[in-house]
């Protein structure tokens, strides 16, 4: 498990110059469920991408397991992302030419472990009620099913941290809720740290901790005493 510390992260965009994040610092403990909320343009997605190493900050450090991830060489960063991070985005980004099973196995192919984790992939699909979709291609599935496959894919390598960027953004409320329940279950059962970006207060309320951003600054950091509800 990993704890994530970010120290005075600043992110500026050039042309036009915008200060997206203005010195953000906070720690996330192992197994936390954190919701990052805020209006669009508040910098919450940018913060998530910086935390996950997909984006680089203008200044500041993100320390995971005591190491600044921006100091890691590219290959090591890729390996880290592959084995210890999971991503769920607003869009499912499934590869259209692969079946859902192959899609779920895709991260494992990077390390040629797809045979090893095949059982686990099937189990994940079962767990998410996707047994009937195993051999289907993304185009043959509903939006909710696609996003659930995407979640299964993010979990195949057993990540320590799951990054979710508006994972319910394109779903109706029934499916959205389902995804949220899945995230909570993952957090509960496997102790995976979940960092969720959302602008829906209902979903944010599920998290044990809510970090609210306004104009690139944390203006509220609310922890629940009891994990879960």
């Amino acid at each position: 498990m990993a704890d994530v510390r970010c120290a005075s992260i600043i992110k500026n965009f050039e042309n036009p110059r915008v200060e997206v994040l203005k010195s953000i610092s906070f720690d996330i403990g192992r197994g936390d469920f954190v919701a990052v909320t805020g209006k669009s343009g508040s910098g919450k997605s940018t913060l998530l991408y910086i935390l996950s190493g997909l984006d680089t900050p203008t200044a500041g450090r993100v320390i995971i397991d005591g190491k600044n991830i921006f100091d890691l060489p590219e290959a090591e960063m890729n390996h880290f992302r592959n084995t210890r991070m999971g991503f769920v985005f607003q869009f499912h980004y499934l590869l259209p030419e692969l079946t859902s099973l192959d899609n779920v196995l895709m991260p494992a192919r990077k390390l040629k472990r797809e045979k090893e984790v095949r059982e686990r992939a099937l189990e994940l699909l079962r767990r998410f009620d996707l047994e009937h979709c195993v051999g289907k291609h993304p185009a043959q599935m509903s939006g909710g099913e696609q996003q659930r496959v995407a979640v299964a894919r993010s979990l195949i390598m057993g990540p320590d941290i799951l990054f979710a960027d508006e994972p319910t953004g394109n779903l109706d409320s029934v499916n959205g809720e389902r995804i949220m329940n899945m995230l909570r279950e993952i957090n509960d059962k496997s102790g995976t740290t979940v960092i969720l970006v959302t602008h829906e207060p209902d979903y944010a309320a599920i998290a044990g901790r809510q970090i609210h951003l306004t104009d690139g600054r944390i203006d509220r950091d609310k922890k629940k005493t009891v994990k879960g509800y």
């Binding site: 997909l54 290959a75 890729n78 592959n82 980004y93 590869l95 192959d102 990077k110």
Partner: protein, 418 residues
């Protein structure tokens, strides 16, 4: 990445097939083209090598120019000629034949050599007279050096040495003289003396230059008829290894006053034509390959643009730039590899078909330049070249889109979509 590369190729099957057909046709066209040209050239070169000497020693032509006298008169000063000198130094025969013989006898690279005397004469019979060459040689030696004896259509090549003043002539020459075998014709030399010779046979090589102009006789006959007793004008040499011809010629020439030429030096003009042909062939090949490469580039470029999101998600799950580059490079490689493989088959089939097309050159089957069908080169190198060129250019062409795919920032794609 192979797995995904194959899946991606399959998912855009029609494009894949079209590109594949393009590559196949490109490779096949190259092979057929190269096969046809190569076949013709190889045939011609074979003829040149086998029908004439590998190396020929002949008297040198030397012309007198300003340079001839450079440093002779007034070596210290700059000379301006009012009337520059002109003229020719005559060497009608080889300078030192016995020295040559000794040298050639000792040389282990020489298989055989044949001394000849070649004179320009006028063949006359009744009221016809035709200028031609009168060649004296030893038939036994000559047959070991050149293939001329193979083209004898009447009589025997060795018959000329069975007596004095016997000749074997080109069959066209005999026809034009209105003569027949066993007829006697006259030979008029440069000095105007005429001598009768008897036709004992004919040759037909398919080369008009020989068939219409050449007459072969014994050394003694030619020497006596042309009044040049004991003179030798040429030595034709056959080597163990024809590829050594140029080197041997250069070495023999050494400090001799005679001209020593290898077959390829003597036939420079034909080889120049071949070189021109090769340039044409290579530029055609280049065009074909460019078209193929652009096809691949186009398809993969579109593919990259269509798959930006997928590239982004692959990057987010830990695939590096190299992986993405490989993903597209593999697609180009698969297309190029399979395309050139099938292209080789198709090219081979095309060559086989073309080889079966009957053609008729010169009407005779026994001549040098005559073939009953199209000549095709089956040189393995053509196939190897086609394969390497096409596969390589596929990889190069796919590298550009692959690299641009690798450079895509996953974040910008995701942000752009969200």
């Amino acid at each position: 990445m192979w797995f995904l590369a194959l899946k991606q190729l399959r998912s855009r099957l029609s494009q894949t097939v079209l590109t594949f057909i393009g590559i196949t046709l490109g490779a096949a066209a190259y092979i057929t083209f190269a096969g046809m040209m190569g076949g013709y050239q190889q045939y011609m070169i074979d003829k040149l090598i086998n029908n004439d000497a590998h190396v020929r020693i002949s008297p040198r032509d030397e012309f007198i120019t300003k340079e001839t006298f450079a440093g002779i008169f007034f070596p210290e000063s700059d000379i301006k000629w009012i009337n520059p000198p002109s003229g020719r130094i005559e060497y009608t025969h080889l300078s030192s034949v016995p020295t040559w013989f000794k040298k050639l006898d000792r040389d282990p690279r020489v298989v055989a050599y044949s001394p000849q005397i070649i004179r320009d004469v006028i063949y006359t019979s009744k009221k016809f007279s035709i200028p031609g060459r009168f060649i004296g040689m030893d038939p036994n030696r000559e047959t070991r050096v050149t293939t001329i004896a193979r083209y004898v259509t009447a009589g025997n090549f060795s018959d000329v040495s069975k007596g004095i003043s016997l000749i074997i002539v080109g069959d066209e020459l005999m026809k034009k003289l209105g003569a027949r075998v066993n007829d006697t014709i006259d030979i008029v030399t440069a000095t105007g003396t005429a001598a009768p010779v008897k036709i004992v046979g004919t040759i037909r090589t398919g080369m008009r230059m020989i068939d219409e102009r050449y007459g072969y006789s014994s050394l003694a006959s030619v020497q006596s008829i042309t009044g040049s007793s004991g003179e030798i004008t040429d030595i034709a040499i056959r080597l163990k290894d024809v590829n050594m011809a140029r080197a041997v010629a250069t070495e023999l020439a050494g400090d001799s006053t005679d001209r020593v030429e290898s077959w390829d030096q003597a036939n420079e003009s034909i080889l120049f034509v071949f070189r021109t042909q090769n340039i044409v062939r290579n530029s055609t090949t280049l065009t074909i390959i460019l078209v193929v490469a652009f096809g691949i580039y186009n398809v993969l470029n579109m593919s990259v643009n269509h798959r930006k999101k997928e590239i982004a998600i692959l990057r987010s799950m830990g695939y590096g730039q190299q992986d993405i580059i490989l993903l597209f490079l593999y697609q180009g490689l698969i297309l190029g590899f399979l395309g050139s493989l099938f292209g080789m088959l198709l090219g081979w089939a095309g060559c086989s078909y073309i080889e079966s097309i009957p053609i008729a050159v010169s009407g005779s089957r026994r001549g040098w330049v005559s073939a009953s069908h199209m000549l095709i080169s089956w040189d393995v190198m053509i196939y190897v070249n086609a394969f390497v060129l096409v596969t390589l250019s596929s990889v190069v062409a796919s590298f550009i889109p692959a690299r641009s795919a690798g450079r895509l920032s996953p974040l910008e794609i995701i942000r752009g979509a969200g």
